[in-house]
Subunit: 459 residues, 2 copies
């Protein structure tokens, strides 16, 4: 089925000037220009299909990731796609363990973001050749084959290949019904669009009203820069959504460990389901300490969007450092590494609530979480840890995927949200392809949009 030799890899620096409107602003990223390193793979096959891959960035530094993609390119050029996906574990290892390049990682930061962009394109191309949306390619794939795409290096102490296979085998039971459920009702989402840190209270109110009208029941608010501001904003949003709906908070790594515990004690009255990224994404033991301190307050810890690889996720699970695990489709090494994290989360019985937003993160990660539900977790319920403490959470606490209402118009196959749920994509591929016109306009620094903005800066 898989065909063609990779004949061309191109990569472009695409940036959207979101900082102008305060969209995406938080306690650590005050002026993000949502951007992407955008990879296109071409083959010599007659079908003319191309693979599109992205990794998400915040503006400056996209050129550094582009440079890293070019450094990885020789590993792909002139390779048969069949050989790549036929030994995907080996290919993943080859990319991430290049004897010279691994020094500037390994499996973290710029090179790993570049790996994600490149492999996302490979998965897109593979799914397109199979004529299936990525989630369906994964759902239909033989568990043995699926497991052969994963690199178990450094995680065998918690998950062996055989254990992974057994989890997937068990996931076959009831798969068909769950797939139908997804197609009918979609995967539950929550919204982060209402309460960026840079928004005024008026904007926040207006967006929150609108979201309530649109049927949203789960809301996330950015916190961490100023306690009094946080109290005011959290009160405002809790009052608007009422006591029954779910509120999450996100500090984007702003605090040290003791500070996180103290600050959250002050915000506990607003009944957040979780505090997200309370401290450094590298601080496994710190998250464990915070987690332990907040359980009596009925607040869970969520993290993951900047956890740089499966080894960090492994330890977060081992250390009981989180109650909600947030995968990211562009920071980990593509589908391959994300699958290993989904399987570890299943083993530890921790719900996966993916990070999304940015540019294309919603488009991509919906495939992973729908696969997770159909073939791995088999559940939309949360585990019981919080229910035991706070019975009122039983009704509202469920698995869910982040949603942000930005920049979807630039994608050829944008997400479809119905009744606050992600509806499974039906087009073949990984939903990664952008509209060529958008790419041209937003290319940095020579696209039309940036030429104007940069000229204005000079004047």
């Amino acid at each position: 089925m898989v065909r063609g030799r990779i004949s061309r890899l191109s990569v472009r620096d695409v940036r959207f000037p979101t900082s102008l409107g305060g969209h995406g602003s938080d306690a650590m990223h005050t002026d993000p220009d949502y951007s992407a390193a955008y990879v296109v793979l071409e083959t010599d096959a007659e079908d003319g299909l191309k693979g599109y891959g992205i990794t998400f960035t915040l503006g400056k530094g996209t050129e550094v990731v582009v440079c890293a993609v070019n450094a990885l390119a020789p590993h792909l050029l002139n390779k048969d796609l069949g050989d790549i996906v036929g030994d995907f574990r080996g290919f993943y290892r080859q990319l991430t363990s290049d004897g010279q390049l691994r020094w500037i990682g390994p499996e973290k930061g710029v090179v790993h973001l570049a790996t994600a962009a490149v492999l996302n394109a490979v998965w897109d191309l593979w799914a397109k050749q199979e004529g299936k949306p990525l989630w369906k390619l994964l759902v239909d794939m033989d568990p043995r084959k699926l497991v052969s795409c994963l690199d178990f290096r450094y995680i065998t102490d918690v998950l062996t290949e055989e254990e992974a296979y057994e989890i997937l085998q068990k996931g076959q039971v009831g798969k068909k019904e769950r797939e139908e459920q997804m197609l009918a009702h979609g995967y539950p989402a929550y919204t982060t669009s209402c309460a960026w840190l840079g928004y005024s209270d008026a904007t926040l109110k207006q967006l929150c009203s609108k979201a309530l009208e649109d049927g949203w029941t789960r809301f996330k608010v950015k916190v961490g820069a100023d306690l009094q501001d946080d109290i005011r904003r959290c009160r405002l949003i809790r009052n608007m959504i009422g006591p029954e709906k779910t509120l999450m908070m996100d500090a984007n790594q702003r605090w040290d460990v003791p500070e996180a515990v103290e600050w959250m004690a002050k915000l506990a009255e607003f009944k957040p389901l979780w505090i997200e990224e309370p401290t450094s994404p590298d601080d496994i033991l710190g998250h464990a300490t915070i987690s332990k301190a907040l359980v009596p307050l009925g607040i869970g810890v969520a993290t993951g969007e900047q956890c740089h690889n499966r080894v960090i996720f492994k330890q977060l699970l081992q250390a009981k450092a989180l109650q909600f695990l947030q995968i990211d489709s562009c920071r980990l090494g593509s589908v391959n590494e994300n699958l290993s994290v989904l399987l570890m989360a299943k083993k530890f019985d921790i719900p996966v609530c993916p990070h999304a937003g940015g540019v294309g993160l919603c488009e991509l990660v919906q495939h992973l979480i729908i696969f997770d539900f159909v073939s791995v977790s088999a559940s939309l319920k949360d585990r019981i840890w919080l229910h035991l403490l706070v019975p009122s959470y039983i009704s509202t606490c469920a698995r869910m995927c982040e949603y942000v209402d930005h920049l979807h118009e630039h994608f050829k196959y944008p997400v479809i949200i119905k009744k606050a749920s992600y509806m499974p994509p039906k087009d073949a591929g990984y939903s990664t392809e952008m509209k060529e016109e958008s790419v041209k306009k937003h290319q940095y620094p020579d696209g039309e949009v940036w030429e104007k903005l940069l000229a204005a800066q000079v004047n």
Copy 2:
């Protein structure tokens, strides 16, 4: 004293074709071309002094780090050096927390290597302006001022600014004597030059004989690719150096956690003092497990050359995951971040045995470890954990710094080794400056050396 506005930052990609001789080869990096992103800072001051900074790389990917250095450059250009070092904590925070760039780190991988190169240049320039070698600048600096250079974000749960200050205050006692001791006898070193994985047994024997003649008493051997090879090579070297001298082993992250424990049980008969990098540098809990399993065998765990920031070191210490802590002068955020790690190590009473080798790592890190002895650790003895288990180690087990005998000829102020010890540098600066002729020749891809090599590849 400090003067000038930074008027120019240039960065070059300098590579040495070390892979041709198998130098530097290990179980994960089989063909390194020792390289550097080489930064030069110029100011508008009349003294004409320049600051030189490097970060070490392995060939491919140096261009990615160069790209990241350029992304950081706007933070330095047109700044007064006095403002930078006058609020060095603030400047460090500015570099590492850039609201857009931090997404592609934060404080890890390519951007952090670039941060190291840039800040190493700042420290070199500062020390030159003060007319002192860097170690002496640090030793003479008021503890309050020293502490103001450090960013305590994410480590206050184990080390507060006040605790750091107290450690440095205590270190003032006997400082003068320790400085004299260093000037007279130098800082003890061990050699890694004899036993790279790519060397034949004959080469290994020859280099080992030579090292013994030169007075070396501590030797490191690369292991991890093949158990039978390891046994043969370890037996060979242990037989040559005898039972009293110190042998260390280095697996360069080759193993999973259970594998590390099993493999080392097979190599225990050769009495290694430590196993270095047994598994992923990100696996704090894994190192703790290995450490616990190997203590009964009298083998310590050492790691650090790829630990990407102070948050990882903090946790390695908290988790009792290492017995020897190996700082790296180019992976952490320069002197600033390394000082915070030295202070945490002191608090946990863990000896620091720096990583060196590569290009310039010996030149740089000698300054840090000499400062550590004079002002922080105040000791050349190891802590007692192994002595309790293996009394015979009392005589041989001491603090030491890695040494590799490669590429020093390209530096303007190369290390001086006497009787297997680093003699304190006397020239002003951080010993980071390379000979312009070497840089020109080895610039990639247009230097003379590479033009020839690349032309030969084409033919």
